[in-house]
């Protein structure tokens, strides 16, 4: 037998429910969200403008410096000289401890270091 399903038995009924006041409050909630979004967008625009202004100032300063120093030789830093002139401070705590050790203590320390299995 060829059975037919009658769509009218169901019609447009749905098995769902909408909780409480969702529909009543939806419009105002949505408007508030658009306002938040507009605020966020204007804050980002503001931040962008400030960053752009700061970058422009830096760029103008660099261009100005380059323009003023045009033709002048730029100072060259010789790193080898600066390394040679550097003295190691003798006032560190380790230096002080070593200075205060007696010769015997220094020999003992040296022997211990030699026999230290973790010291490669």
């Amino acid at each position: 037998m060829n059975k037919e399903f009658d769509f009218n038995k169901v019609g447009k009924r749905l098995p769902y429910k909408i909780p409480g006041s969702f529909m009543d409050e939806f419009a105002s909630n949505c408007i508030n969200m658009t306002k938040e979004e507009t605020k966020g967008r204007s804050f980002r625009m503001h931040l962008w403008k400030i960053s752009f202004a700061a970058a422009s100032v830096v760029l103008i300063m660099i261009t100005g410096l380059l323009f003023l120093n045009k033709g002048k030789e730029l100072p060259v830093i010789n790193f080898n000289d600066s390394i040679k002139n550097t003295t190691i401070s003798e006032n560190t705590e380790v230096e002080r401890i070593i200075r205060e050790l007696s010769d015997d203590e220094l020999i003992l320390l040296s022997t211990m270091l030699d026999s230290d299995m973790f010291n490669e």
Binding site: L14, M23, A27, T34
Partner: protein
């Protein structure tokens, strides 16, 4: 009370000082239709709420792009449908296939309607949820929202012929499911 015309609503939204009023009128005019369209597709109220919010936020963001060559409500249906599809695509990362998503939606259906007595209505929804995606969209828009094939083809970006064929196949499948499952 008569509902405001779409042209009037649009003119309010497009002006800065009346944008909120226009948006409120638009939401109040279409919220029920759009909510039920979304709910039928995503099943849970929580998802429907998120998708609906995103739909109207998109309207607010892109109202200037609305060209008025289609009706305002078909544009709304289009945004809402795309948001639902976007939600499913996101879930595809969790569920491996479309069938998994359907199964999850059917589980949600039974979870959300546990207290409902009308079993035939729940089974009818299950039959729709198990349809292939395009058939499901076309069936809902035609059966529940009574949109014509021209409008459906605009919303889903398919031909009128494809909309008709998909509706025909969907209705056959739903019938078969209701009789044999």
């Amino acid at each position: 009370m008569t509902e405001p015309e779409d042209e009037y609503i649009l003119s309010l939204i497009k002006a800065d000082n009346t944008r909120d009023k226009g948006l409120t009128l638009l939401i109040n005019k279409y919220k029920e239709r759009i909510y039920w369209h979304i709910r039928r597709l995503v099943v849970s109220h929580e998802d429907a709420q998120d998708v609906m919010q995103e739909t109207f936020l998109n309207v607010y963001r892109f109202i200037d792009a609305f060209g008025q060559e289609s009706k305002l409500y078909t544009w709304l249906y289009r945004i809402a449908t795309n948001e639902c599809i976007r939600l499913f695509r996101k879930r595809k990362h969790i569920f491996t296939s479309y069938d998994d998503i359907c199964e999850e939606l059917v589980n949600k259906l039974y979870y959300n309607t546990a207290d409902e007595g009308d079993k035939i209505v729940v089974k009818f929804q299950e039959a729709i949820l198990r349809l292939p995606e395009k058939q499901k969209l076309v069936f809902n828009l035609r059966y529940y929202d009574e949109l014509n094939y021209e409008e459906i083809s605009n919303i889903l970006n398919i031909s009128k012929g494809s909309a008709k064929t998909n509706y025909h196949y969907a209705a056959e499948r739903v019938k078969e499911y209701m009789l044999n499952s």
